[in-house]
């Protein structure tokens, strides 16, 4: 009821303002009339009576004012007035306004853009109902990653299925298959899953059904579920697709379900889900990623402890996997949040680092605007003091000051959000493949809220900071009135010095991080990838088991294709391999035993990659032959395979301890494991290539010929080969003739992943380039803003000292001494900030180190460079006002005010 009345009156005061005023005036007139009458009765003349009444009343306007002060609507009116006043002031000083708004826009915009990325990529939950409880179940060995083909890795998952920490658990194996039967063959990503995947992810098909229990049994009929994208692309979103057949690697498979559009497991490009048909009684040696759904309240650490306790049971009934082997190899389960795998640790680290740097830029920007406002406040000090002496209440001055800063900050924030959305559009367009989950990156309510909080906080701080006489009261009021342009009180001067030092320090930190990233990018660009990337066309061809049932058919196809390409004009060399260098998805590898090995007691032998290569591959790629010979066509003869292989430098170093490699015998896999591979003979040594990333040193590889040697099954590697064609001209111009050649040979085969070798190398360095570019932009913005801050502060304090300098010059001080004085002041601040910044940068080394490649986090060259740049910029920023001081005309200076 009380509220009601309050609201009613307030509304009436806003909406029917004239009525309210008229009513109040009428009440006042009545009062005056009565008062006049009273005086008349007391015997005064009419004029005197009226004058007395008016005098007592104290003025009509004042009455109105007093009434209005009691009305809440009045404060709204005052806010509007303050904002108008602020806008007028800002328009009067366009230079200041533009500088402040742009500075804020850069700070807030950078922050908004990067926070959107952090929010979308790192903070947004994955699109599964229990995303926070999804964990990856993997294994590690003492040496890091588990060798890919360590036997019975999947057996452990059978053992793990009894674990109480999990609600459900599943294995999955991503791969690629060829779809035929349509207009053109197509190579798509697929994933084989075990039964648990649907309860784990909490997903169900939008159409049809999930797989039946029987369909996971070995030799069950082939069934698939297809993605929403494939359904629309290949079947025109026809609901009758269920039960239709689709050719997967040549096998007819029945479509039983269509997945939802937002199910992207394990990656966004997966188009087919298939049941993983495994025989739990005869588990083979494959390494399979696992994913589990934790019970509510169970942490990944608890789950991991339970699995560690269960693991020894996996050795029961296995001749090969013994408790001793588990012990000696240090094999242990590793359970961690699944979200960590979706966004790699390097991206995670880059994004957090980037955010930290843009926060620094924002801080610098805020300090800049704060000192700009302080400078302005200084020049309006007398006005403010005068106004408060004339009776303006402190809270009104404060409100006005806050209104002014709010208008500034809001303009800056609006421009900043606009800048951020442009930046994000560019990230979405060019960031694919560099940044995961780019589709999730946009400015949403959470981002705007953070921006609003930042901006609001800044507005209040800026509003309060420049007010005169905070807490000092009357003293500063009088000192404000008494000052002439010549003197400033020391506390505000010291405050500005602190601000400038802080800016220089933050700029120094940013520059150090940026410098280290530039050096990292340079080091990565100089990495010897182990091959010559220019003028090479690469593409991939995969053969199905239906069209090419025997290993000999596979070899024959590839050899024919290679021979025809070699005959094309402009081709220098051509070869094919199972995995090109710098394949981010990884290369199969396994522990390698040799007869040149040293005795190992407590660890697995070093792992080496398994690769297949045709004779021309090394010449086409420009991989150097170190010793012996390369593989010949005769080594790959399907009737009489020679069993010859090549190894790389790293294998000779790690597995053979540098002993004579030619004639040595090597085999992948551990001795005594089921299906143990026989020895192969090393006939040559070639250079190493970077297998997956630029940063990781090569692990070494064994190159097998295209076809199976007795007991060495290579078919799983050679069915799908990457071709490398070295040409004299632009590599991509060769592509059409290669395509038509393939079409002639087999129209059902897709040619995919066509690109130049150079672009593969570029893509490998794009992640660090992305981080470097982001950090460089942030650092340059920081440097620019910081130097503007230093310049602004010095220019202002010099102009404040105009009188003093004038007096000193008039008394005979040399202009050069004045210049030196200002320069000294500037450089002192600059050096102090620099020292603090560099020391802080040393403190950051733990956070930065993982982002760096072959450069120390305390790299002296970078630190020296940053010091030089900042001193140079600082000197320039100080020189301009210093020079102005030196050329000051004393007469003019003294006549000021």
């Amino acid at each position: 009821m009380r509220i009601n009345k309050w609201v009613r009156m307030t509304l009436r005061e806003i909406v029917r303002r004239p009525d309210v005023i008229a009513e109040s005036d009428e009440e006042m007139r009545f009062h005056l009339a009565m008062e006049t009458e009273r005086h008349l009765r007391a015997g005064l003349s009419p004029e005197d009576a009226r004058r007395e009444a008016l005098l007592a009343f104290g003025g009509v306007l004042r009455h109105r004012e007093q009434m209005r002060d009691e009305q809440p609507a009045r404060s709204l009116e005052r806010v509007i007035h303050d904002v108008r006043f602020a806008l007028r002031l800002l328009r009067k000083t366009p230079g200041f306004t533009i500088a402040a708004v742009l500075t804020l826009a850069v700070g807030i915009g950078g922050n908004t853009a990067v926070f959107s990325a952090v929010n979308g990529v790192l903070l947004h939950p994955l699109p599964y109902p229990h995303a926070d409880r999804l964990v990856t179940i993997a294994h590690t060995t003492r040496g890091g990653d588990i060798p890919k083909n360590l036997p019975d890795a999947s057996a452990t998952h059978v053992v793990y299925s009894t674990a109480k920490s999990f609600e459900a658990m599943a294995l999955y194996q991503p791969g690629k298959v060829t779809l035929t039967g349509g207009d053109s063959p197509e190579r798509v990503a697929e994933v084989s899953v075990t039964q648990g995947i649907f309860p784990v992810l909490g997903v169900s098909p939008q159409l049809g059904r999930a797989f039946l229990v029987d369909e996971y049994r070995p030799h069950a009929a082939d069934v698939v579920m297809i993605s929403d994208a494939l359904w629309r692309r290949r079947f025109g979103a026809d609901r009758a697709v269920i039960g239709q057949s689709i050719l997967v690697d040549g096998h007819p498979s029945t479509i039983v379900g269509v997945m939802r559009r937002d199910t992207h497991f394990p990656s966004a490009d997966v188009e087919l889900w298939m049941p993983m048909q495994i025989d739990v009684h005869k588990l083979e040696g494959f390494h399979t990623p696992g994913i589990g759904l934790l019970r509510p309240g169970v942490t990944p650490e608890q789950a991991e402890r339970e699995l560690i306790a269960l693991l020894p049971r996996a050795t029961e009934g296995s001749d090969f996997l013994t408790p001793q082997l588990l012990q000696s190899a240090g094999i242990r389960p590793d359970v961690h949040p699944y979200a960590d795998d979706v966004v790699g640790s390097s991206v995670r680290r880059s994004l957090w680092t980037l955010w930290a740097t843009v926060l620094l830029v924002l801080l610098i920007a805020c300090v800049n605007v704060a000192s700009l406002l302080a400078v302005r406040a200084e020049s309006r000090r007398r006005e403010m003091s005068l106004r408060s002496a004339l009776g303006a209440e402190q809270r009104h001055l404060l409100a006005q000051s806050i209104a002014e800063s709010t208008v500034l900050v809001m303009l800056g924030a609006a421009l900043g959000v606009a800048l951020a959305s442009i930046a994000l559009a560019m990230v979405r367009r060019f960031g694919e493949g560099v940044l995961p989950r780019t589709t999730e990156v946009h400015i949403d309510s959470a981002v705007l809220l953070v921006t609003a909080l930042v901006a609001g906080g800044a507005a209040v701080v800026f509003g309060i900071a420049p007010l005169p006489g905070r807490g000092a009261g009357v003293r500063s009021l009088f000192s404000g009135l008494g000052t002439r342009g010549g003197t400033t009180d020391t506390s505000s001067l010291r405050m500005r010095h602190v601000l400038v030092v802080a800016q220089v320090a933050m700029a120094a930190m940013l520059l150090v991080v940026c410098g280290l990233m530039v050096r990292t990018a340079k080091n990565l660009a100089r990495v010897d990838v182990g091959f010559r990337p220019d003028s090479v066309l690469t593409f991939r061809i995969a053969l199905s088991e239906v069209g090419y049932p025997k290993p000999g058919d596979v070899a024959r196809f590839h050899q024919t294709m290679l021979a025809r390409i070699r005959a094309l004009p402009g081709v220098v060399a051509v070869g094919a391999t199972s995995d090109l260098p710098l394949s981010p998805d990884g290369v199969p590898g396994d522990p390698l035993r040799t007869d040149r090995d040293i005795a190992r007691t407590n660890s697995l032998p070093p792992a080496a990659e398994m690769r297949v290569a045709t004779p021309g591959y090394f010449e086409a790629m420009g991989i150097p032959l170190r010793r012996g010979r390369v593989l010949l066509d005769s080594d790959g003869d399907s009737e009489h395979p020679s069993g010859a292989v090549l190894v790389t430098d790293a294998v000779v170093r790690a597995a053979m301890a540098g002993r004579e490699p030619i004639g040595a015998r090597v085999a992948h896999g551990l001795a005594g494991e089921p299906d143990q591979r026989p020895w192969s003979e090393v006939v040559g040594v070639v250079g190493d290539v970077r297998g997956t990333t630029l940063e990781d040193a090569p692990m070494g590889a064994v190159y097998y010929p295209l076809v199976d040697a007795p007991g060495v099954n290579m078919e799983w590697l050679s069915r799908s080969l990457s071709y490398a064609v070295r040409v004299r001209t632009d590599p991509m111009t060769l592509l059409p003739s290669v395509r038509s050649m393939l079409h002639e040979l087999d129209p059902a085969l897709p040619l995919y992943d066509a690109r130049t070798l150079r672009s593969i190398v570029d893509a490998a360095s794009s992640k660090s380039r992305f981080a470097m570019m982001g950090l460089t932009i942030a650092a340059l913005a920081g440097l620019l803003l910081g130097s503007i801050g230093l310049y602004g502060m010095l220019a202002f304090s010099t102009s404040q000292r105009t009188r003093e300098i004038g007096v000193r010059i008039a008394l005979g001080a040399r202009p050069s001494a004045m210049r030196a004085s200002v320069l000294r002041q500037g450089l002192r601040l600059c050096i102090t900030g620099l020292a603090i910044g560099l020391i802080s940068a040393i403190g950051l080394r733990v956070a930065i180190r993982p982002l760096l490649y072959q450069v120390s986090a305390t790299d002296p060259l970078t630190f020296l460079g940053v010091a030089a740049v900042l001193l140079l910029v600082g000197t320039i920023a100080a020189w301009i006002p210093a020079n102005r001081a030196a050329h000051l005309d004393p007469m003019r200076a003294l006549r000021l005010d």
């Binding site: 009821m1 009380r2 009601n4 009345k5 309050w6 009156m9 307030t10 009513e23 109040s24 009428e26 009440e27 006042m28 009545f30 009062h31 009339a33 009565m34 008062e35 009273r38 007592a56 009343f57 104290g58 004042r62 009455h63 007093q66 009434m67 002060d69 009691e70 009305q71």
Partner: protein, 110 residues
């Protein structure tokens, strides 16, 4: 601000107005006159504080207002206590008495 001795203490004006209105509904001028009479001229309520106070009290729904015609035939805004105002007047009176007693006790000590 120059406070004269006849001006009521700050904060007591609400109480004075409420108390005056417990007798009968009254217009602003009448209220000021009555306060002066009842205190034998010891307190004079300044118009500058009376009318904002009336507005404030009405906003709190302690008093209500309506336009009426006086005996002399003029239109005037009459104020009267609401039920909440009655209760508030009692509360404020009690609280004022406690306050006065406390201050008296202190003054007697020193």
């Amino acid at each position: 601000m120059g406070e004269s001795s006849t001006e009521p203490l700050r904060g007591t004006i609400d109480l004075l107005v409420l108390k005056t209105l417990t007798l009968a509904p009254m217009h602003g001028w009448g209220i000021s006159q009555r306060i002066q009479q009842l205190t034998s001229g010891a307190l004079e309520v300044n118009q500058g504080s009376l009318y904002p106070a009336l507005q404030r009290l009405e906003r709190r729904d302690w008093i209500d207002s309506e336009w009426r015609v006086t005996e002399s035939g003029r239109r005037a805004k009459y104020y009267k206590l609401t039920a909440a105002g009655q209760r508030a007047a009692g509360r404020e009176t009690a609280s004022w008495r406690r306050h006065v007693l406390a201050v008296e006790a202190l003054l007697a000590q020193t």
